[in-house]
């Protein structure tokens, strides 16, 4: 966090813009991939930008009260704050925003802030579908957070740090990814990522057919647009977090320097995150939908076992 505030501010804005663009493109790619898997042409890759523009261009909007009005704000703030505390690129002057000022446990709690604020807004609309979706979503959180925490605790005790930057330093120094150092923790984290993205088979929250898109059911126009933006940024945040934790992050300040280094780092980041993102997407294409208790039980069964194995591995690895 050295350097004058102007560079920092520029870095923050650049990070947010990068996350927004990449996230939106990933959403479009997901739709394209699903369409191709269904033997369709599918929408163009930039379709999400058009949707967002259209939603923000709606000339009338409705809201049901202050909490509903602020629900997208919660989501956006949670996403961007989490983004600012995650090192997008490793080291260097670029994108280090507040990396040294928050650790993993803080990130864990920050990442549920958005969904809780959203839940409050949904509750105020008075739409029963929204409330049902929220109850399902919160139940699902208790499902996928536990294996995630298990894997995080595993790598914390394995490397004696709770800081994301330290973990990246380790991986960059000894070219060993933590996915290789502690595969069980990586597996558990992958499972919980499946849950975090709320794609099929864990999309019971906003099931369009039975719940009328659940929590989203009362949001339209600029509110839905802001929710889309926040969701895209948040998807990128999750991907970058997993990449930094387990896949060695991106960027080599010692190897490349200056703009070239940043560019190559970004390319590496995009490749890694895209490959990671394709896991939940491709699973979502072929999987049917779980009921809520089935999903929660699933997370409490195998991912929990993998997480526990990861902890044991970490204890005996030391």
């Amino acid at each position: 966090m050295t350097g004058n505030w102007l560079i920092e501010l520029t870095g923050i804005v650049l990070t947010a813009l990068l996350a927004f663009t990449v996230g939106m493109f990933y959403g479009g790619l997901r739709r394209k991939v699903i369409a191709r898997a269904q033997n369709r042409v599918g929408p163009p890759v930039y379709q999400n930008f058009l949707d967002l523009l259209k939603l923000q261009g709606k000339t009338t909007n409705v809201t049901h009260g202050l909490m509903t009005h602020l629900a997208p704000v919660w989501v956006l703030v949670a996403a961007i704050t989490a983004l600012l505390f995650i090192p997008v690129l490793h080291g260097g002057l670029w994108f280090p925003n507040f990396t040294f000022k928050g650790d993993l446990i803080f990130l864990l709690y920050l990442m549920v802030m958005g969904s809780l604020g959203m839940a409050l807004g949904v509750g105020e609309t008075g739409n029963p579908n929204g409330a049902i979706g929220v109850s399902r979503g919160l139940s699902l959180i208790t499902g996928y957070e536990i294996p995630f925490v298990l894997s995080l605790v595993a790598i914390m005790i394995q490397f004696h740090t709770t800081s994301l930057t330290d973990l990246m330093h380790y991986q960059q120094a000894t070219g060993h990814w933590i996915a290789r150092e502690n595969p069980f923790a990586f597996l558990a984290a992958l499972f919980s990522v499946l849950g975090m993205f709320h794609y099929s088979p864990f999309d019971i929250i906003g099931a369009p057919a039975e719940l009328a898109s659940g929590p989203m059911s009362e949001f339209g126009g600029k509110y839905l647009g802001s929710l889309m933006t926040g969701g895209s940024i948040f998807a990128f945040v999750k991907l970058v977090l997993i990449t930094d934790l387990f896949l060695g992050g991106a960027g080599h300040p010692d190897a490349y320097t200056g703009a070239a280094g940043v560019l190559l780092g970004l390319v590496e980041l995009v490749i890694k995150t895209f490959l990671l993102y394709m896991i939940p997407v491709s699973i979502g294409i072929v999987m049917p939908r779980f009921r809520t208790e089935q999903a929660v039980r699933f997370f409490w069964r195998w991912p929990l076992l993998f997480g526990a194995l990861g902890i044991i591995w970490a204890v005996f690895w030391k």
Binding site: P43, G57, K58, T60, N61, S213, M216, G221, L224
Partner: protein, 215 residues
């Protein structure tokens, strides 16, 4: 021989007669819909219209037999998503309200409610002969005969039933209208609310809508 003449008398009127009749039939929203013509519209408006026409969230109000054409249109065979058309779950998110077939007065009430809950700019695509002129229900005591007496309609898709190709053609027409700025009649609906309310209340006997028009 004279009867044959009578038959000719009963045959359809000419296109001019029909157009003339159309103008005094539902005159309101055809002209007032032109909020911004292609000549007058600004650059921002042009870009917005481009986004609007390429991202249509479709709320299919599946009444009657036409509902079965929607899955065929949206799924792999005739992939409507390549035009940016995707299903929306609730009227709050939707841009296009699609009425697929006849409307009984009981259903019409819900349709009007749903239409009023959609956000501007909002478009209505009426689907099948029944929405145009009652179709085979032309003398049914319980189905409306012409939809645009009750809510403004942007595009009619004729046929009983229109095949998915026809539906896509209709959507292409809607996109063209949007780009020209001739679509989206929510504003004019609000302007001529009394006329529409009068028509609706003439049909819907147990009228329990809220007094002010809330969207």
């Amino acid at each position: 021989m004279s009867e044959t003449k009578d038959i000719r008398i009963i045959t359809r009127p000419t296109k001019e007669q029909i157009r003339q009749a159309q103008i005094d039939f539902a005159p309101r929203c055809t002209a007032a819909g032109r909020v911004n013509d292609k000549e007058t519209q600004k650059m921002v408006q042009y870009i917005l219209n481009f986004a609007r026409k390429h991202s249509l969230f479709l709320l299919a109000y599946g009444t009657g037999c036409g509902a079965i054409e929607i899955p065929a249109t949206l799924t792999s065979r005739y992939d409507a998503e390549r035009l940016g058309i995707r299903g929306a779950a609730t009227p709050r998110q939707a841009d296009v309200l699609m009425i697929t077939g006849y409307l009984s007065t009981k259903t019409l009430k819900r349709v009007i409610r749903v239409y009023e809950q959609m956000q501007d700019p909002k478009y209505v695509v009426a689907f099948g002969s029944c929405t145009i002129n009652g179709g085979m229900y032309f003398d049914s005591y319980n189905t409306i005969k012409a939809l645009d007496r009750y809510i403004p309609v942007d595009v009619y898709i004729a046929g009983c039933m229109p095949r998915p190709e026809a539906v896509l053609k209709g959507f292409a027409k809607l996109q063209e209208l949007i780009q020209n700025g001739n679509a989206g009649n929510g504003e004019c609906y609000r302007k001529n609310l009394d006329w529409y309310r009068a028509n609706q209340q003439k049909v819907i006997k147990n009228w329990d809508f809220p007094d002010e028009y809330n969207w």
